[in-house]
């Protein structure tokens, strides 16, 4: 095959049909679309990175010359994968990228599918559903008896060391991601190795182990890396800023100089330290291309974002004009818990009602709940919104809670809905059989094993399948703990003699019920939603962490102050917002992190941005300076 795949200006002409409502006329977009060689694309928030990537992929798929070689699209999260899938489904030819020979999915899925899982199969390891928490609990529980002396020296830190044990590299070296490293030699480390190996043979592994096994496969199977690289001549990595060294390490073993790797991301939203990473694969690499135009917001918010942005060129705000200038809200101890509601009532006065339907309004904060009680108010979400429920905010269901799995099976709505729902239903049934099944069935590690065991008994198979179908198609009520228990008991009964004896509600493990009932973030009455009702309008404000809203577009965003190590983030960034300090000059990780959080928060909204901080931490000089650069400062320190 000759040369890399190259799009031309003629191809771009098709974009106006694919995306009639979008324009791809800007030079930086055209550059990004036509760029054929390996490159990094540093994309500003709201620059339409995903749309751009989708457009590029759509154009490539229309002319893709290979029958059995594909494009590999790697994302950091399944949410991002689904977003790209949606984009591809909306254009002609786009859905051809969703199947063979292409790959679209997370880096973890990619590594598992092509490297780790086939290798585990050869090693005779039958992988169970990966559950990090479960692994840590089991491992610690079994290790503690022989690690007791070592752990108890500093239980707080060293328990984490044991809990975080994982394999690293092709040799499966035992390491731990924790403050205190594992001892290099000695009886204990030998015992830990043996325990880890035993659990591995039993199919209990963690995500990071899969990367180590992948490295092992690459080291031991001649030609494997070349085969993978040959299969995917073009690789796209989305949300590059969130990938870590382990992931990039394995990818770099596979994709060689002959592979065209294009990485998209926004380093300014990186959860890792910016500019610090000396790793050879750090993002963005030299000579990266920038996509700086944001269509999400106008120049006012762009100016705010630019003032707290550490890397790259200025964001050009070409989006719609804002409804109000960037606003700083000052609250007092007395009004802290009213800030969100008052914000709602305030914006209800001028938000266009049709837009409220389309885009969310969110109140976000960097810190969830932990914090020093002696610290002043403004520490974390619960200072503003005491009923915040962290479990309810989790998007991924726990693999240990049958209740959550049942709910996922019944309600998951995405492109690959049935597959997901079916998998959740099967996992739920597997958990039930493992706990309460008759001997034989009880040892099944996977659904496949379960069905193989049942192969001799047609009735058992049809019962298991029937139960899985019922879970998906006739959802059971798991809205309360009690109804969840009832639902599980009903299912156990429906499994008949697969279950050993009678199970009562009291026998059900507590963790099966955890997180089952509350959590539907988008359901009315969810604990993390505050409903705003005025005479002419009714809309919800979603309360969330900053980390959870990356990549989102809001109609209006309220960023709530938080505190880490006695430093309140909004107060810390005020000098940057005023223009007194340059974000690019920052070198300490703490400030970098806080700037990054405010950057992410400030770059979400389309029409309205507000930051909220305690009035005590504001002084007149700063307030005056802020107003000079265009900020609107509201004093909400008195109770209304």
């Amino acid at each position: 095959m000759s040369g890399p795949f190259q799009l031309t200006h003629d191809d771009l002409a098709a974009l106006s049909q694919f995306f009639p409502h979008l324009s791809f006329a800007r030079q930086e977009q055209i550059n990004a679309l036509l760029h054929a060689a390996t490159a990094d694309f540093q994309a500003a928030p709201g620059s339409g990175k995903t749309t751009l990537l989708g457009a590029k992929l759509a154009l490539m798929s229309a002319r893709w010359p290979h029958e059995r070689r594909g494009i590999c699209i790697l994302t950091h999260t399944n949410v991002a994968r689904e977003e790209i899938e949606r984009c591809l489904k909306s254009v002609p030819h786009g859905d051809s990228l969703l199947g063979y020979p292409h790959f679209i999915g997370t880096i973890q899925t990619f590594v598992n599918k092509f490297l780790a899982i086939p290798w585990l199969r050869t090693l005779g390891i039958n992988l169970r559903e990966i559950d990090e928490e479960d692994f840590a609990d089991r491992f610690y529980g079994r290790a503690y008896p022989f690690c007791k002396a070592w752990v108890d020296v500093n239980a707080w830190e060293r328990a984490t060391t044991i809990r975080n044990v994982r394999y690293q590299g092709a040799e499966l070296a035992l390491v731990s991601d924790a403050e205190t490293p594992l001892p290099a030699t000695g009886k204990m480390i030998d015992s830990l190795r043996a325990l880890k190996a035993t659990m591995a043979r039993d199919g209990r592994l963690r995500h990071a182990d899969m990367f180590a096994y992948a490295e092992q496969a690459l080291a031991k199977v001649p030609g494997l890396a070349e085969a993978v690289a040959y299969r995917f001549p073009n690789v796209f990595i989305d949300e590059m800023q969130d990938t870590n060294d382990i992931q990039l390490g394995v990818l770099s073993l596979v994709f060689n100089a002959g592979t065209i790797v294009q990485r998209f991301g926004d380093v300014n939203q990186s959860i890792l330290n910016r500019g610090r990473s000396a790793a050879p694969n750090s993002f963005p690499g030299l000579g990266s291309l920038e996509v700086c135009t944001s269509l999400r917001f106008g120049m006012n918010f762009a100016a705010v974002a630019n003032s707290v942005k550490a890397v790259g060129g200025e964001i050009d705000g070409q989006g719609p004009p804002c409804l109000a200038p960037p606003t700083l809200i000052l609250y007092s101890d007395a009004t802290a818990q009213q800030v969100i509601a008052r914000f709602g009532n305030w914006i209800a006065g001028f938000l266009p009602s049709d837009e409220v339907e389309k885009l969310p309004v969110k109140a976000i904060c960097a810190i969830k709940t932990e914090g020093n009680m002696r610290q002043k108010v403004g520490r974390h979400i619960t200072d503003y919104f005491p009923q915040f429920d962290d479990a309810a905010a989790k998007t991924a269901p726990s693999q240990r809670s049958v209740g959550q799995l049942l709910r996922t099976a019944a309600t998951h709505v995405t492109s690959s809905a049935t597959e997901k729902r079916g998998a959740a239903a099967r996992t739920a049934l597997l958990l039930m059989v493992q706990k309460f099944g008759v001997s034989g069935y009880r040892d099944a590690k996977t659904w496949r094993e379960l069905t193989l065991l049942g192969a001799s008994n047609v009735e058992h198979i049809s019962r298991l399948r029937g139960a899985a179908r019922d879970i998906v198609l006739s959802p059971c009520d798991v809205s309360t703990d009690a109804s969840c228990k009832t639902a599980i008991l009903t299912l156990l009964v429906s499994l008949g003699d697969i279950i050993d004896g009678q199970v009562s509600a009291a026998d059900l493990p507590v963790e099966w019920i955890v997180g089952a009932s509350p959590n539907v973030a988008d359901r009315q009455g969810s604990p993390n939603i505050l409903l705003v009702e005025t005479r002419n309008m009714k809309f919800p404000i979603h309360v969330a962490t900053i980390a959870s809203v990356k990549g989102e577009t809001h109609l209006a965003t309220l960023v709530l102050e938080s505190c880490r190590r006695q430093r309140y983030d909004i107060k810390e960034v005020l000098p940057y917002l005023c223009g007194d300090k340059k974000a690019a000059d920052v070198t300490d990780a703490m400030t970098e992190g806080q700037l990054m959080n405010i950057f992410v928060g400030a770059s979400r909204p389309r029409k309205l941005l507000a930051l909220a901080m305690h009035a005590d931490r504001m002084n007149d000089r700063t307030r005056q300076k802020l107003e000079e650069v265009g900020w609107n400062v509201l004093d909400w320190t008195t109770v209304v």
């Binding site: 059995r68 070689r69 063979y100 020979p101 599918k113 092509f114 490297l115 086939p118 290798w119 199969r121 050869t122 039958n126 496969a217 031991k220 199977v221 001649p222 030609g223 494997l224 070349e226 085969a227 993978v228 040959y230 299969r231 192969a455 001799s456 047609v458 009735e459 198979i461 049809s462």
Partner: protein, 650 residues
């Protein structure tokens, strides 16, 4: 990419792994010839590949209830078939990445695993009664299901036995010829169509343009337009509804696409020389069969793509005369070696078996495959080349028999089947082949049927040889001791006179010499039977058949150079010789009669083959006796050989 291993459990002849009755066979990269008697499992091996890989002809193949192995009256409820593909090229590895098996130190390879379970009825059995089949990858089928994308790459090309080559070559949708043509690198350009109706006489430059021009010319001929208009005006118009008129058109091809045009072309053989090349001359089924195979080979070698190049041919000998069978096999062997095509052939033809290199043969006996490649047999690698030349088609019978009698010369091969038949141990009825190798040294080729791994082939082989040690009272052969007795010099031209007679050896040496002959071939299921005295004829003259042997020699002498005896002459000689023998027997010991009578044969004044013919005739007409009586009269070593090959039922 090629099939490296084929295995199966509980599939037809092949039983359970537990008792080692399953199938596990390695195949060569190039040519593989599966030989063996009917019902041995050759087709089942092919079918494992057809079921697991499916075929390019998209014929309907699926596991049926009767594919499940039956052992002692119990039919298995589950079976699996596994095909291991190795030697994947880089693009093949990449294309099949989703299904590869990874193993330390080996390039990634592919295992296709088919699992089938018989539905036993009961709950959930319902209407469906066909076995439930899943096809997945990896050893034991632990991996992902095989999708259609993978399927396209791993289809086998299958030619069924007694195929109808003429029908296969006919123009039709997806015909082989169209596939061959479509695989040509320049075919794309032929799809171009710039035919302009206003300039119909411009020279067409592509296949589609040629057809477009033809189409245009056809549709403007008066004959055609007349018929068409009549059809439209007189018939179709009356049948039409106003909104949807029916109007016909007469065309060369409904649609002027390259694909359709290619499917209209026909592959035929030219008439034989001497017949006008324009005449239609249907060639025989056999030649068309050859043409068909050639087209398949071309398609496999010419694709150059990533698809599996595996050709499964059942009985390539179908409809072919013996010499052509050999040529076809030579071509298959050649293409397999040079074009990177893997060919697996099943055959019942000794011609095919004998023209294949021995190392490509796999013997299939009662559900067990035995590869004949060096390393698998006890034959020395250096012997293979020789064995190939030696295996003319009559010797290749070896591979289709249930038992083999290997003898030194034509006399034995004429006489022994007749004796066995008369003695109630019929070779024919028991599937025993007799093979003459012409020299006891060649017995060692019986080692082709002996396994290095110590397993025993179920084919019994009996090697029948002369002792080559002359009895002492044979005066016309001079042994070393005779020379000494006569006081003659023992050496001549620097060479010692050979030890030839019993007296030349000590009794321990005699045993040793006989044992050496036995050891040349004995092993596995092969037993060696050495004449008790000297040669077949001599030993006959010393056995219960001495009189018959004597008569047969006289018959041969009476025939003389004339070459035949009339019935009257025969009866007369038979009578007289019998009487002569009887009177001799009154005075002479049997050793002396035998030595005297044998002299004619020893001095080549009488033909052993013709003597054997007369003996065989006597065996057939019952004059030698029948059943056990005859068996007891036989020289002991022959009786032992028959007992070994065809044991008495009781």
């Amino acid at each position: 990419m090629h099939v490296h291993r084929v295995s199966a459990e509980n599939f037809r002849t092949f039983g359970a792994c537990l008792n080692g009755k399953h199938l596990d066979i390695l195949l060569n990269r190039g040519l593989n010839v599966l030989v063996g008697e009917n019902d041995a499992g050759k087709t089942s091996i092919i079918d494992v590949m057809r079921y697991a890989l499916l075929t390019t002809s998209n014929d309907f193949v699926r596991v049926e209830d009767d594919d499940f192995h039956i052992d002692a009256g119990n039919q298995a409820t589950e079976l699996w078939l596994e095909v291991e593909l190795r030697g994947l090229s880089k693009p093949q590895q990449a294309a099949l990445l989703d299904w590869l098996t990874l193993e330390a130190g080996a390039e990634p390879y592919l295992i296709i695993h088919l699992h089938a379970r018989r539905r036993l009825g009961g709950v959930g059995g319902g209407r469906q009664s066909n076995p439930a089949v899943t096809v997945s990858c990896g050893k034991g089928g632990g991996g992902a299901e095989i999708s259609s994308a993978a399927r396209e790459l791993i289809r086998a090309t299958y030619l069924k036995p007694l195929r109808d080559a003429v029908a296969e070559l006919r123009p039709k949708k997806g015909s082989r010829l169209s596939q061959v043509l479509r695989a040509h690198k320049d075919v794309k350009a032929e799809a171009e169509n710039n035919f302009d109706k206003t300039k119909p006489d411009d020279k067409p430059t592509t296949l589609v343009e040629i057809m477009a021009q033809a189409q245009h010319r056809v549709s403007t001929r008066k004959v055609v337009t007349d018929v068409r208009d009549k059809l439209n005006d007189d018939f179709l118009k009356e049948l039409s509804f106003d909104a949807t008129p029916l109007i016909s058109d007469i065309r060369v091809s409904a649609d002027l696409t390259l694909a359709q045009i290619l499917e209209r072309l026909e592959l035929t053989l030219r008439p034989p020389g001497g017949v006008s090349q324009d005449l239609v001359c249907e060639r025989g089924l056999g030649y068309n069969n050859v043409l068909f195979m050639a087209a398949e080979l071309l398609l496999l070698s010419n694709g150059g793509g990533d698809e599996l190049a595996l050709l499964l041919i059942e009985e390539p000998e179908a409809h072919l005369h013996p010499q052509l069978q050999a040529r076809v096999l030579s071509m298959l062997a050649d293409k397999a070696a040079t074009k990177n095509i893997q060919v697996v052939v099943t055959t019942h033809s000794p011609n095919v078996a004998s023209s294949a290199p021995v190392e490509t043969l796999t013997l299939v006996c009662s559900g067990r495959p035995y590869r004949l490649s060096p390393g698998d047999t006890c034959l020395e690698p250096a012997d293979y080349e020789f064995l190939r030349r030696f295996l003319d088609s009559s010797k290749a019978n070896l591979f289709f028999a249930r038992g083999v009698l290997i003898v030194e010369g034509p006399a034995e091969s004429i006489l022994l089947p007749a004796l066995a038949e008369a003695a109630g141990r019929s070779f024919e009825a028991n599937g025993i082949s007799t093979i003459s190798v012409g020299g006891v040294g060649l017995f060692r080729y019986a080692r082709i049927l002996q396994r290095k791994d110590g397993t025993k082939l179920p084919i019994k082989v009996a090697c029948l040889g002369d002792s080559d040690i002359v009895p002492n009272d044979v005066s016309y052969v001079e042994g070393r001791q005779d020379k000494i007795n006569k006081g003659q010099a023992l050496t001549k031209d620097g060479k010692q006179h050979m030890r030839r007679k019993v007296a030349d050896y000590t009794s321990a040496e005699l045993i040793e010499v006989r044992q050496a002959k036995v050891d040349r071939a004995k092993g596995g299921s092969t037993e060696v039977f050495i004449a008790d005295h000297w040669t077949l004829e001599y030993d006959l003259l010393r056995s219960g058949l001495a009189k018959a042997g004597y008569i047969a020699i006289q018959l041969e002498q009476a025939e003389g150079s004339k070459g035949y005896l009339t019935a009257v002459e025969y009866d007369k000689v038979y009578q007289e010789a019998g009487e002569a023998f009887d009177s001799l027997a009154l005075f002479e010991p049997e050793e002396a009669i035998a030595a005297d009578a044998y002299e004619l044969l020893h001095s080549k004044r009488a033909s052993k083959a013709i003597v054997a013919q007369y003996l065989a005739k006597m065996a057939k007409d019952g004059s030698l006796g029948t059943g056990d009586a005859l068996l007891k009269a036989l020289p002991p070593y022959i009786k032992s050989a028959l007992d070994y090959l065809v044991p008495d039922e009781l």
